[in-house]
């Protein structure tokens, strides 16, 4: 079937089966490899994209459900002011180890900061717990989010 979807501000037409997950449309039809395959069940968050600004697991979102909603992927997140800040904070905090999950982390973090510019630690926990980092760079993800929010980056959770 033919579907025309809005990806990163452009209309793109693809010919795929109705149940094809958005992730595989992005990766293999549109050659946008930034969104990653981790679990295929919406458990790890590596495939996170925005649909109308909301973080969505593209691996469990069939193309037929996308309609004409606006999809933003990691490849274009830097064109938003908050996305750009998040990318810069990720570099400043040197978050990455293997880096495989980080596109998804950045998408979830950008969605969080767009709705909640000054998140608490609890807000960060709630917004980011759907994204697994196998290398466990959680400490730096937390400080990068605070950095992007203009908050002190020290971990102030009570011990």
């Amino acid at each position: 079937m033919s579907y025309t979807i809005k990806v990163n501000g452009q209309s793109r037409t693809v010919d795929v089966e109705a149940d094809t997950p958005l992730l595989w449309v992005l990766r293999d039809e549109l050659d946008l490899k930034g969104s990653k395959f981790g679990c295929g069940m919406g458990l790890c968050g590596a495939c996170t994209v925005h649909i109308n600004g909301n973080p969505v697991r593209s691996c469990v979102t069939p193309i037929a459900a996308v309609g004409d909603n606006a999809i933003t992927t990691i490849e274009a997140i830097g064109s938003t002011a908050i996305g750009k800040k998040v990318q810069e904070a990720w570099l400043k905090q040197d978050v990455m180890q293997c880096g495989y999950c980080q596109a998804g982390q950045i998408m979830s973090a950008t969605a969080l900061l767009t709705k909640n510019p000054k998140p608490t630690d609890k807000d960060i926990d709630d917004a980011m717990s759907g994204n697994i980092c196998r290398c466990a760079t959680y400490k730096r993800i937390r400080s990068a989010i605070k950095e992007a929010a203009g908050l002190p980056t020290a971990d102030t959770r009570e011990v």
């Binding site: 795929v16 490899k33 930034g34 679990c39 295929g40 040197d94 880096g99 959770r157």
Partner: protein, 738 residues
């Protein structure tokens, strides 16, 4: 690790690079080392590769696979430091697989730092000297009057200056110096080593650029999945090939004959090749295979437990270490303590699943893969398909998590087999279920400990009967016990031995192999002994370590002999972590406790304190981990280094709290992150990292911070609740109080 003799034949091959830059191919015979146990390369040489463009842009080859341990940044930093260039002018480039030129190229054993710290600095220093020689010749002045600064050669007397970019072409013609005699910087003059430098690929990662194995695109490629028997080593009898081949996008469905009994190699299976990966993966739903499940269809975790209990009734089948008279000491002891520990198989769970892209053409094959051990994969492909190694080209991609799993070549062999059959380039990607159920698991194991204390609470005898898994009476990969396992040689009477259960479960190295399990068992039991002796666990550990003694040089599984356990270094990190964590000085609320543990692995000394809280429901939450590590006199990149340590600590906690691979009817029962959970943001503790610098050569950081965190957690739970966790993963039902 001592730098070995490199004098036999030190030379640098030089040729002019395209575009008039300097291309330095340096080859120095590396350490007189035995080959990697699983990489049958002969005595390796080490080589580095530097290219300087006329504008001064300096490209440095990154020789080893990048799995997130940071070597694509840190190894070029070593070259850049001695070359004396500004880091902003450096670009790094993944090297080709060429061990004749580059020496050992692999990611494992936390060995990139100890193997390369000195040699790569020498490469940088030699390149700098060539540039200085070119300048000296041009200006007709002695080289001794020259100095360098940030990519420029300077003659102070005359004020003349030439940039490396200007000198590169002439320097390419200079006879290279002897690497053995080049002079290296005094570490106090370092400008790059010791700086927190961001990962070189990070700007690409935050923009989602396609740099991982799974992102590879080869023109005209198809996509494949490969289904193996759910029982290890089972074979294909028949399948509904024609029916599946009719599904949308599917091109071909066919059986692949595996390598048979050799578990490390290609397994039997059915390949589905399609136009797109999703089509191939979806077609799996319709695939019906009749399997011959083979010999191992009755394997189960429950059987392992009962078998271990039986084996504990007998003496160990193999003794690995006997000192003094253990039985005699038990008879005369003031106190005898016995305990049994168990831990499960674990799965690597790299977030990037196994994948490889292969193009078989005219009896040659080109491969793009996230491999930690590319040379081994090349050999495996050569053997499996009967083509010379020269017909196998492997491109190393960035790796989306390795942890030891991608040392194995199984997924690469599968991709090659499939491409060979269809005659087209093919990208094979495992789905998560396949990835979880066809791992090279961290072996599960069981320990039966018995120890004796004298009237002063000193350990006078120590015994471990380790029941491990393997085949034919031999421990499997990463399932053995070393005769040097602490407290060997630190108590007067000691016996270490093992018995093997024939499990045939494929096992392999998972981050800090052996150590990640042994640390839990040994360091937890030592904590039990401390409490039995009525002593503070820190004091007890320090007493057990005793006064400083010189470490023995021990044969290494990889490379040259390396210094064995140094008790003074361990005491150092223990004391430091106690100080930083406020050990023994804090009044902690009910249900909260601190535990301490230490472990030596991969040449690194780590002591860790965990502060954990246990709820009345029995749920364990780690609030903070204090880590002190001694990996020598230099941390090459403190940002990447502490990142490794932070991750390792959380990785260990994640395993202890959440993870196990279990078997029933020969099948792995877990399939994805719902039943094999990884620790998430809301559970992630604070991690305080401190490197205690000592006058020892720098060693690696990918692994040694992991092992002690597990017993430190278990010891913290004991401090918080009085309950001893003797089986992993931690069962909250055991800790429940309300």
């Amino acid at each position: 690790m001592a730098m070995q003799d490199i004098s036999r034949r030190s030379f640098i091959k030089v040729s002019a690079a395209v575009g008039g830059g300097l291309l330095v191919d340096m080859t120095i015979p590396a350490f007189a080392q035995s080959p990697l146990s699983s990489a049958p390369e002969e005595a390796a040489t080490l080589n580095a590769y530097v290219r300087i463009a006329p504008d001064g842009t300096t490209t440095i080859a990154a020789k080893n696979p990048e799995i997130g341990q940071g070597v694509k940044t840190t190894l070029p930093m070593l070259v850049a430091e001695e070359l004396d260039v500004d880091w902003k002018d450096v670009r790094t480039e993944m090297a080709r697989l060429d061990m004749a030129a580059y020496g050992p190229q692999f990611a494992g054993g936390s060995l990139s730092t100890p193997f390369n710290y000195d040699p790569l600095r020498r490469v940088g220093a030699a390149t700098r000297q060539m540039l200085m020689t070119a300048a000296a010749q041009s200006w007709r002045v002695p080289i001794s009057e020259l100095e360098t600064n940030a990519g420029t050669v300077i003659h102070t007397k005359s004020g003349k200056k030439l940039t490396y970019g200007q000198l590169a072409e002439a320097a390419a013609k200079v006879r290279p110096p002897d690497l053995k005699t080049v002079s290296l910087k005094d570490p106090k003059d370092f400008k790059i080593i010791g700086q927190p430098i961001g990962g070189v690929d990070s700007p690409l990662i935050v923009e989602g650029k396609p740099i991982f194995g799974i992102d590879v695109v080869v023109p005209g490629m198809r996509y494949a999945v490969y289904e193996k028997c759910p029982v290890f080593g089972g074979s294909v009898v028949s399948a509904n090939y024609d029916e599946v081949a009719k599904l949308p996008g599917v091109r071909k469905v066919f059986p692949v004959k595996g390598g048979g009994a050799d578990m490390a190699q290609l397994f039997d299976g059915v390949a589905i090749v399609a136009d797109k990966w999703h089509q191939a993966n979806k077609a799996l739903d319709a695939l019906k295979v009749k399997w011959d499940e083979g010999k191992f269809a009755s394997l189960s975790s429950a059987t392992f437990e009962s078998q271990a209990a039986e084996l504990f009734k007998q003496p160990p089948a193999t003794k690995v270490k006997t000192e003094g008279d253990v039985e005699g000491a038990f008879k005369n002891a003031a106190k005898v303590v016995e305990a049994q520990y168990a831990y499960p198989f674990l799965y690597h769970a790299t977030l990037e699943p196994m994948n490889a892209t292969a193009h078989w053409k005219d009896n040659k094959v080109e491969i793009w893969a996230p491999t930690q051990l590319p040379a081994n994969a090349r050999t495996a492909v050569s053997k499996q398909f009967g083509i010379p190694e020269t017909a196998v080209t492997i491109h190393m991609t960035r790796i989306g998590g390795g942890f030891g799993r991608k040392l194995s070549a199984d997924f690469i062999l599968e991709a090659v087999a499939i491409s060979k059959e269809v005659g087209e380039p093919v990208k094979l990607v495992w789905n998560r279920r396949q990835d979880a159920q066809h791992g090279k698991y961290r072996p599960g194991g069981f320990h039966s400990f018995k120890a004796a204390l004298d009237a002063q609470g000193k350990v006078v005898a120590f015994r471990d009967h380790f029941v491990t898994v393997g085949a034919d009476g031999k421990p499997g990969n990463s399932a053995d016990l070393s005769p040097t396992e602490f407290p060997a040689s630190f108590v007067p009477n000691l016996e270490l031995g093992y018995s093997v259960m024939d499990s045939h479960v494929p096992t392999g190295p998972l981050r800090a192999p052996q150590s990640n399990a042994l640390a839990y068992a040994f360091q937890s039991f030592i904590d039990e002994l401390a409490h039995a002796a009525g002593k503070d666990p820190l004091e007890f550990q320090l007493d057990l370590l005793g006064p400083p003694r010189p470490p023995a040089m021990l044969p290494s599984r990889f490379g040259p002999p390396s210094p064995g356990f140094n008790n003074a270094r361990m005491a150092g990190v223990l004391k430091e972590v106690a100080k930083r964590s406020g050990w023994g000085t804090k009044k902690l609320p009910k249900g909260v406790g601190q535990g301490i543990a230490c472990y030596f692995s991969h040449m690194g000394y780590f002591a860790e304190v965990v502060q954990a809280r246990v709820s009345s429901a029995g749920d364990v939450k780690v609030d903070k981990v204090w880590v002190v590590g001694d990996v020598g006199n230099q941390i090459i990149n403190p940002s990447a280094g502490s990142n490794q340590v932070e991750g390792a600590a959380i990785d260990g906690i994640s395993g202890a709290i959440h993870q196990q691979i279990t078997l029933a009817n020969g099948r792995v029962q877990q399939s994805n992150f719902h039943d094999y959970p990884l620790l998430r943001m809301h559970e992630a503790p604070q991690v305080d990292v401190f490197f205690l610098k000592t006058d020892n050569p720098p060693t690696g950081l990918g692994e040694p911070a992991l092992p002690p965190v597990v017993p430190a957690l278990v010891n913290a739970i004991f401090a918080a609740t009085g309950k001893r966790i003797r089986k992993l993963p931690i069962d909250s039902a055991e800790l429940k109080t309300a």
